[in-house]
């Protein structure tokens, strides 16, 4: 029983340590705050219920793998929905669709409470990251933002370490091309 309590405490500490970064990663990928919160919640739930008994050092790659899967699910659903809606001559009356269209716009306006996003640099970075191909963005955010090493990133992305290095290198090159001499 004591072991279970310790496990729960460790899991809570882990989730607290990754939740904000996970949210930002999801938000950049999905460009939608509510969807980002949903996928983070799903990832937390799945990690807790299915993989909570795994060794703690496996949690981070597992969590980000789940998160990436959830992000991809949402992107696929959107893609299918957009394709279907494009075939509908009467589209445009749905309130949800309007919200999604706004959310997907690159310049979607300020999201609640994210004051820093109004700054030029963060906006520029966010746009540049959003423009990256999925795999490059994943590799860049997991390595550079979350601080996973190459092996952990490879585990999270389910690819080889060589692929991670390649995606990361290309992401940095692309960001440099877009952002130029980027300094804080």
């Amino acid at each position: 029983m004591r072991e279970t309590e310790d496990g729960a405490r460790a899991l809570e500490a882990f989730l607290a340590s990754v939740e904000r970064k996970a949210f930002r990663i999801a938000q950049i990928a999905l460009r939608h705050e509510a969807d980002a919160l949903d996928v983070v919640q799903d990832a937390m739930l799945q990690l807790s219920t299915r993989y909570g008994s795994r060794p703690t050092e496996e949690w981070k790659p597992l969590f980000y793998r789940i998160l990436e899967n959830r992000i991809r699910d949402v992107q696929r659903r959107r893609s299918v929905r957009n394709r279907v809606m494009a075939l509908m001559p009467w589209r445009g009356g749905d309130e949800d669709e309007t919200a999604d269209a706004l959310a997907q716009a690159v310049d979607g306006g300020p999201t609640p409470g994210t004051e820093l996003e109004s700054t030029e640099m963060l906006t520029a970075l966010q746009r540049a990251l959003e423009a990256l191909p999925n795999r490059q963005r994943q590799a860049f955010l997991l390595r550079n933002f979350e601080g996973l090493d190459v092996a952990e990133t490879a585990a999270a992305m389910r690819c080889s370490e060589g692929s991670v290095k390649t995606h990361y290198f290309r992401a940095v090159q692309a960001l440099r091309g877009k952002l130029g001499d980027f300094r804080t």
């Binding site: 739930l45 609640p112 550079n144 290198f169």
Partner: protein
């Protein structure tokens, strides 16, 4: 490409440092609503885990208790249902009782002259009595 790649993969370039700092800073300025939702999500996930563990315990506890009870019953009752092998000592003592209570002479050693003991017994119970018995005691000494 190698030098650039190595530098970029170790997170050492200016671009990487700046982007990292900017992104980390952006997580610290998330709105209260988002932070609250994240906390709720975390608690929900932990609650779901606890509920799952409780469910597992409730599901398997009766089966475990039943198995333990069955094992205990086996341990307690299984040895008594088996026939107890008779030990050599018990068997021997029973044999001794048989020997002692039977009419067969205790010894059948061919070296012993049983006729002497028969004669001695006859002499002791006969008319000459004790004299013969005394003579007999200094007489034949067997075989």
């Amino acid at each position: 490409m190698n030098a650039g790649t190595n530098q970029e993969q170790t997170g050492g370039s200016e671009l990487e440092r700046c982007t990292r700092a900017l992104l980390v800073e952006s997580t610290e300025t998330l709105s209260g609503t988002v932070r609250s939702r994240l906390t709720q999500a975390r608690h929900a996930a932990l609650g779901a885990r606890a509920a799952r563990l409780r469910y597992r315990l409730q599901r398997w506890a009766p089966a475990g208790a039943l198995a333990a009870a069955a094992l205990a019953l086996l341990v307690v009752f299984l040895p008594h249902t088996r026939p107890v092998p008779a030990s050599a000592a018990i068997t021997g003592s029973i044999d001794d009782i048989d020997l002692l209570t039977s009419d067969v002479p205790l010894s059948t050693d061919p070296e012993v002259d049983y006729s002497f003991y028969e004669w001695a017994a006859g002499a002791a119970s006969g008319p000459t009595g004790a004299g013969q018995a005394a003579a007999a005691s200094s007489g034949p000494t067997g075989s």
